[in-house]
Symmetry: C2
Subunit: 202 residues, 2 copies
Amino acid sequence: MDRQYPSVALERAVNEFAQLPGIGRKTALRLVLHMLSRPEQEVSQFGRVFSTLKQDIRYCQCCHNISDSDICEICANPKRDNSMICVVENVQDVLAIENTMQYSGLYHVLGGVISPVDGIGPQNLEIASLVERVADGGVNEVILALSPTMEGDTTNFFISRKLAPLGVKVSVISRGVTVGNNLEYADELTLGRSILDRTPFT
Amino acid sequence: MDRQYPSVALERAVNEFAQLPGIGRKTALRLVLHMLSRPEQEVSQFGRVFSTLKQDIRYCQCCHNISDSDICEICANPKRDNSMICVVENVQDVLAIENTMQYSGLYHVLGGVISPVDGIGPQNLEIASLVERVADGGVNEVILALSPTMEGDTTNFFISRKLAPLGVKVSVISRGVTVGNNLEYADELTLGRSILDRTPFT
């Protein structure tokens, strides 16, 4: 839209929404007008939640996942296997792996992957703290569960090199054809990888 | 996602975003995590803008469009033709019509259309104030530019009945095939209407 909004307050609110990823100016305007149709209390509460968001959110001092306390529920849970650490990029990945119900160890949230294009180097990620955790002892296996992209692979390689002197077992989640899909829809790279990484039929 | 979020503050922020139309819980989580990666100042400003949004936004006392002053820029503009009033549902429609550069009259923003299903009756819309504006004199034509839906048609009918005693010309924007599209893609109702409403070829 070329035309200016009829009000500065409206434009300011639209600009705030339009800054968010995946939200264009038309959607932003629609969201703001939706808010204007809601009760004042509801809208001001929306604002209050975000004005203190950064102060309210805390991170687990052990695994760096978002947490309400200094040590998150997963790290503090005595039933979890603390000899395994699963390395992930972010909170969504922790939630996704937890939903599989297939993992009972601990996590380590890196906060991203190494990406020189975006200016993210190893020092911007929680890699040093991971090495420290493993060096403290008690860890038998580190599972790398980063995205199967070039950045993820680079990060996997960097971490495995850092962990090598500590003699801990380092593994990476398997890559192959997706469960429940027709084979013809799998891309060549994935299909090729799934043949190379074939496992004994049981 | 079945699993609970690892933090109450995170869950609260996700809930706020997920209330907005077209934003599900996964997108909401992605937006919140994006915000956490931004500087604190930026995030708290986002919050502040919305905590005072309802107080900051004002409406034109004449046409009920969003405005920074008691009378909006369009109503206050002496170059606009104040003998024509274009009746629209909301602010987006004003912006859309302004972008066409084909209209130089004034507007009247209803704030919606009559929709018994949603509990919106004529008394919830700016219809009485429209009748008052026309009764005050100086208006030659009222153009109804509501959505071509059943609710829009009902509202058109209601307004035209209310305006009938005032002897003002009431027109409705034309309906027909969309400009630049192949005829074969037009739906039957629209195509039929465009034949009935054919205009002399010039």
